[in-house]
C-alpha cells in the first residue's frame, strides 16, 4: 500500500476512490496474439464467444450509454458479422455476449463496447471481459458436456487471469489454470496476486453468462 493509499484509507476515502477509479483497458489486446499460442502450444481452440460483464448504474444517463454500446455493436456487426446479445445474470450484472469465429473481431468488439462505456465515464462499472476456449480433452469426444476454460480480463487491475471451472461443479481445475498461467505468462499481462482471480461461476453447465 502506497502512502497515498494509506492516507486515503485513514481518511476513510479509499473505498470510494478505488471503486470509482478509471478502467484500464490497455492490455486487453494481448489476447490477439495469445489465442494463437493457446492453440499452437496447448491445443485450446477459441470457442468463438467472448463477453463483457458490467454492473448497472441507476441512472438515465447510464441507460443512454448502454444504448450507445448497442448501436455501435450493431453497426460493427454489419461489417464483421459479430453477433451481440445483452443478457442479465442471476447476480444482476449485465453481459454483452459476442459471437464470432474470428477472435480478432471478438477482441475488437469487446474493446469497442468497453471503450464506449469508458468514454461515457462508466469505466469503473466494467467488471471483466471473458474469452472462452474449448478444452482439447473434451472437444474430441462427442458428448454434451463441453468443457471450457476462460481468460478473464479485469478492467480494474488491467490484467488477465485464467479461470477453468469443472463443468457442473463449483470447483476450479487448478492444474489447468496453472498450465494456462505458465504458458501465457509474458504474452498476456497476468494478475500476480491470485487473491484477485475471482471466479465467475456459470449457473449450470454453460458459460458464466448463461
Amino acid at each position: 500500500m502506497g502512502l497515498l493509499d494509506g492516507i486515503r484509507s485513514v481518511l476513510g476515502l479509499k473505498a470510494e476512490a478505488d471503486a470509482t477509479s478509471e478502467a484500464d483497458p490497455e492490455d486487453l489486446f494481448g489476447m490477439s496474439t495469445a489465442y494463437v499460442t493457446m492453440e499452437a502450444d496447448l491445443g485450446y481452440e477459441p470457442a468463438g464467444e467472448a463477453a463483457l460483464c458490467f454492473s448497472d448504474v441507476d441512472s438515465t444517463d447510464f441507460q443512454d450509454a448502454i444504448e450507445e454500446v448497442r448501436q455501435i455493436l450493431a453497426a460493427g456487426g454489419v461489417e464483421t458479422g459479430t453477433a451481440a446479445e445483452f443478457v442479465e445474470d442471476a447476480h444482476g450484472y449485465t453481459w454483452v455476449v459476442l459471437e464470432d469465429d474470428d477472435v480478432e473481431d471478438l477482441i475488437t468488439s469487446v474493446h469497442f463496447a468497453a471503450d464506449t462505456l469508458v468514454e461515457n465515464g462508466y469505466g469503473s462499472r466494467l467488471l471483466a471481459a471473458v474469452f472462452a476456449f474449448r478444452d482439447p480433452e473434451d472437444s474430441t469426444a462427442w458428448d454434451e458436456s463441453d468443457r471450457y476454460v476462460y481468460w478473464v480480463y479485469s478492467f480494474r487491475r488491467g490484467a488477465y487471469y485464467p479461470f477453468a471451472p469443472e463443468p457442473g461443479e463449483h470447483e476450479r481445475d487448478a492444474t489447468a489454470e496453472f498450465k494456462l498461467q505458465s504458458v501465457l505468462d509474458g504474452e498476456l499481462d497476468l494478475e500476480d496476486d491470485e487473491a484477485y482471480w475471482y471466479p465467475l461461476w456459470p449457473e449450470d453447465e454453460g458459460h458464466p453468462w448463461e
Binding site: S9, V10, L11, G12, L13, K14, A15, E16, D18, A19, T20, S21, S55, D56, V57, D58, S59, T60, D61, F62, D64, H91, G92, Y93, N120, G121, Y122, S124, R125, L127, A128, S154, R156, R157, H170, D193, A195, Y196, Y198, P199, W201
Partner: protein
C-alpha cells in the same frame, strides 16, 4: 457521468482526527499528571500493547462476541458469490464472510487487513431483497477498505477507557466502599473518568459518524445504486424492535454495525448519523447521477 467527490467529508474527517487526538492528549495528560514518569512510561507501553491486540484480534473478538460462524461457499452460495462480485468491483480480495445466528437484521465488519471479516445476521438475509443486500454488503466492504475497524478501535480507545473506568467506579460506589474507606478513591476515579469522557467523546462520535457517511458513499460507488442503500436503511430502521435478548448479542460492537443495535452498558449511542440524514445524502448522490444526463 462524473463522480463527484465529497470534499467536505475529507475536511471533516481531518477535524474528527484532531478531536480524537485531543482525547489521547487528555488520557496521557492525566497519566503523566497523576503518576511518576516511570509509571507513565509503563502505562504507555501497556496501552500500546493492548491497542495492538485489540486491532489485530478484532476479528476473533467479533466471532466470540457475536457467535458468528465463518461460512463456506457450500453453506450460502448466493451470499458468497455476491460478496465475490462486490469485492471484485471494489478491487479487493474477498474478505472472510460469517453469519451471526440472530434475528435482528444487521451487518458488521471487523478486523485488520485480509483478516477483516464481514458478518451478516440471519435476520438480514431474511429481511432484505437482493439489491438491498448488495448495498449493505458493499457498505461493509467499504468499511473494510477504509480500515474502519482499526481506525475506530484506535481513535475510540480513550473513550473506551473512560467508559470502562466510569462504569466500574459507579458500580463500586456502595456501602461496602464506604465501610472499607476507599470511597474517596472511587469518587475521584469517577470524576476523572467522566472528565476524560467529556473530552474524548466528541472526537469519537464525529469520527464514527463520518466513517458511516464515507462507507455509504463507498457502497454507492461499488453498487451504483444509491436508492437500494437508502431503501435498505429505511427497511432496517423502520422495523419493529425485536426482543432485547436478540439485540444484546451484537450490541457491544455498535460502532461497526450498519445500523445501531440495542443498548448496553458499553454501547455508545450516536455513533451513527440519523438514518433520515443518510438517506437524504444518498438522494443527493442519485441527483448528481441524473444531473449528468441533463448536462450531456
Amino acid at each position: 457521468m462524473e463522480w463527484k467527490r465529497d470534499r467536505r467529508l475529507a475536511r471533516r474527517m481531518v477535524l474528527a482526527f484532531v478531536l480524537s487526538i485531543g482525547g489521547y492528549g487528555a488520557l496521557f495528560g492525566l497519566i503523566v499528571l497523576l503518576s511518576p514518569w516511570t509509571v507513565a512510561v509503563a502505562v504507555f507501553a501497556v496501552v500500546v500493547v493492548v491497542l495492538a491486540i485489540l486491532v489485530r484480534e478484532a476479528d476473533r473478538l467479533t466471532y466470540y462476541m457475536t457467535k458468528a460462524v465463518a461460512i463456506d461457499r457450500d453453506d450460502y452460495p448466493a451470499l458468497f458469490d455476491t460478496v465475490d462480485r462486490l469485492a471484485q468491483q471494489a478491487d479487493m480480495p474477498r474478505p472472510p464472510v460469517a453469519v451471526i445466528p440472530s434475528d435482528e437484521p444487521n451487518a458488521l465488519s471487523a478486523g485488520t487487513g485480509d483478516r477483516t471479516v464481514v458478518c451478516v445476521t440471519l435476520g438480514l438475509l431474511k429481511t432484505l431483497d437482493d439489491d438491498e443486500l448488495d448495498a449493505v454488503l458493499a457498505h461493509e466492504l467499504a468499511h473494510c477498505k477504509n480500515g474502519d475497524s482499526t481506525v475506530l478501535t484506535v481513535a475510540g480507545f480513550p473513550t473506551t477507557v473512560a467508559l470502562l473506568t466510569l462504569s466500574g467506579s459507579l458500580e463500586r460506589m456502595n456501602g461496602f466502599a464506604l465501610f472499607l474507606g476507599y470511597i474517596g478513591l472511587v469518587i475521584v476515579l469517577a470524576i476523572v473518568s467522566l472528565a476524560l469522557l467529556v473530552v474524548s467523546l466528541p472526537g469519537t462520535l464525529v469520527l464514527a459518524r463520518y466513517r458511516e457517511y464515507a462507507a455509504d458513499r463507498g457502497a454507492v460507488a461499488i453498487t451504483g445504486k444509491p436508492v437500494a442503500l437508502a431503501e435498505a436503511l429505511a427497511t432496517l430502521h423502520g422495523r419493529d424492535r425485536r426482543p432485547e435478548s436478540d439485540l444484546r448479542s451484537i450490541a457491544g460492537l455498535n460502532a461497526f454495525c450498519i445500523v445501531p443495535s440495542g443498548t448496553g452498558l458499553l454501547t455508545l449511542p450516536w455513533t451513527h448519523p440519523p438514518v433520515a440524514k443518510r438517506i437524504k445524502r444518498l438522494r443527493k448522490v442519485q441527483e448528481t447521477f441524473e444531473a449528468g444526463s441533463k448536462r450531456d
